[in-house]
Symmetry: C2
Subunit: 360 residues, 2 copies
């Protein structure tokens, strides 16, 4: 169990195979009597009954809501469906919303929980690797606007996160691999140990061994929890978590969110940031090859499928919402599992890194 | 100037005729460079240019957005229009949303500010009496769902509130009078002085004298600020502010929000709560006549236009969202400008109060 220390809103993250069966006890112990479980039509058929039974056995009333799966449904209309279902189920401020699914379901349900009756309890059950190591920890919730991703949202910490690594066994190969981009990101910004743990256990990782997955998820949650607890509302150090995302987000956008999964775009973004850091001498140049080899072994891309002009890509990095007053700040990795945030990068550095992609 | 003390999010409320012209300076002093002013088609034609000029003269970029006026537009669709206008105006987390109008515009704009990019600066310019003495102070923001009022929202404190009593000169008689229900409510829960101030200045109040209005608004803001600072998120004492609202909200609902303005329904709710309190001996029975006379003098109703069965009315009080686990808690006034919250009221007490309405 990892504890996320955010003052009065602190909460535990349970990482354990089989934890789904404990959701009822965890919830009942907090005095909650009524819950709405929000899931999607991919995840619902696999785990909804299990979670609902666990709640009912613990004496709670548990209502289900299944939304269509996919990023294109991450809209305010989906949030409205959750609000309306909450009202239908007569939830009040002491009730609970539970998200059962990946990042999209977690963000939507969290935002509904942040705003229904000005805030009620929220519990996350992340079922993808990406959601377990990243999205479910930190309290960021929200949805997309027609003209931009994640432009609407709120910080709303859950009362608990229950991450069951055995749910990772049902992921497609592509979705499973995508999750490793954020894991490598966490390793780069905070932990040489995690980097070596992944490098030294590639076979077990490919077999989705539950022992190594539990260890990896837990170490990731620890890293993210530590950063979030130092900067809950993203006014400083939390920016470290954007490593690989400046170029990565821009690439996702250029592909209209259809060509690259988030983790795939972030993997390529990590290569670019590492390349720039090596050029600057922040890292030994052998480090770039090491990261490229690791990402490849994990089934992640290290260059775009088609050549992209550095000018067009660069321009897109300025459309990201984290910009303030036109300046884009980068995160660059450094020796020893550390990184700097707030770095200014010049176009020629970026262009050089882009041109050398796939020529490693 | 009144200071609302809510820790790190504390802010000033300026109550001054002519303060609209100072909005530019107040905003610039906080380092803000870009603002979106949200107003409605009643208030916009009167004050939008003035506020926009004040901002531009202080060196800010100021964009306008005019929404249709009225409670029926207090929807998530209206909030979406604000989000989209904010994006169009390229607002970022350091920019500002300004509400210029009554309670509906304040709540919608505040909710957009709470959620656009997970929260940006918000400044309130309330232009109705109700908004100046009540809605603009305390950080409650939100919108309605199809099936219930104010079911969606967030606590989001503004960086400042600028209440200009001279905007009250343009209100219709009915809207002006409605605002006094919340004023009498504040007097009942916290201030014999305010009650006497209103009673002793009815002529000046009818003439909308700016000196007395400034004093009244300021005393109200002080009362609300004190309660809010003791209980920002409404977990305890803030419930006091619901005096008159248990029966009042139910009455508004019974009239489908078409028959009674909010203040009118609250006025009748205040009479019912006062009657119950007198019956219980919390107050001398002469107090009821005093409150009824005062509300009448202020142009407010003290009984429904048509007889309503106590059974139907009582049932509606249970539909209010503040209920938790089926119990409705009332606020009842006591001797000396005080009140109790968390009171259980029996149906027969309520029915007796309802039956005696209009028979004072």
């Amino acid at each position: 169990m990892v504890y996320v220390d955010v003052g009065a809103n602190s909460y535990p993250v349970y990482v354990k195979a089989g934890i789904l069966s404990d959701v009822g006890r965890i919830t009942r112990d907090k005095g909650i009597k009524k819950a709405l479980i929000v899931t999607d039509n991919n995840v619902g058929p696999l785990y909804l009954k299990k979670v609902q039974s666990a709640l009912v056995e613990a004496g709670l009333k548990a209502f289900p809501l299944t939304l269509p799966a996919g990023e294109s449904y991450k809209t305010i209309s989906a949030v409205e469906l959750i609000w309306e279902a909450a009202l239908e189920a007569t939830l009040d401020r002491k009730s609970l919303l539970i998200s059962l699914g990946g990042g999209v379901i977690g963000d939507l349900t969290g935002f509904a929980a942040a705003t229904y009756m000005r805030g009620l309890n929220f519990l996350q059950i992340p079922t993808t690797l990406l959601a377990q190591v990243d999205a479910s920890v930190g309290g960021k919730t929200g949805c997309n606007l027609r003209k931009g991703k994640n432009l609407v949202g709120a910080f709303h910490q859950p009362i608990a996160v229950c991450a069951d690594p055995s749910t990772l066994l049902s992921l497609s190969e592509r979705e499973y691999c995508s999750g490793f981009a954020e894991i490598i990101k966490h390793a780069l910004i905070a932990s040489s140990h995690l980097l070596e743990l992944v490098e030294n256990n590639l076979d077990l990782i490919k077999k989705r061994d539950l022992t190594i997955l539990t260890q990896i998820v837990e170490e990731n949650v620890e890293i993210k929890a530590k950063i979030v607890s130092q900067d809950e509302k993203e006014t400083g150090k939390r920016a470290l978590l954007n490593l690989g995302h400046t170029a990565g987000h821009a690439l996702e956008e250029l592909g209209d969110y259809k060509i690259y999964h988030h983790g795939e775009a972030v993997a390529i973004g990590l290569v670019i940031a590492t390349q720039i850091a090596c050029e600057r001498g922040y890292l030994d140049s052998s480090y770039l090859s090491r990261i490229q080899a690791l990402l490849c072994s994990l089934g992640l891309p290290i260059s775009p499928h088609e050549e992209i002009s550095p000018e067009i890509w660069w321009k897109r990095t300025f459309a990201d919402k984290k910009q303030s007053s036109g300046q884009v700040y980068w995160v660059l990795p450094k020796v020893g599992g550390l990184a700097n945030y707030g770095e200014k990068v010049e176009f020629n550095e970026f262009a050089k890194a882009v041109r050398s992609l796939g020529k490693g």
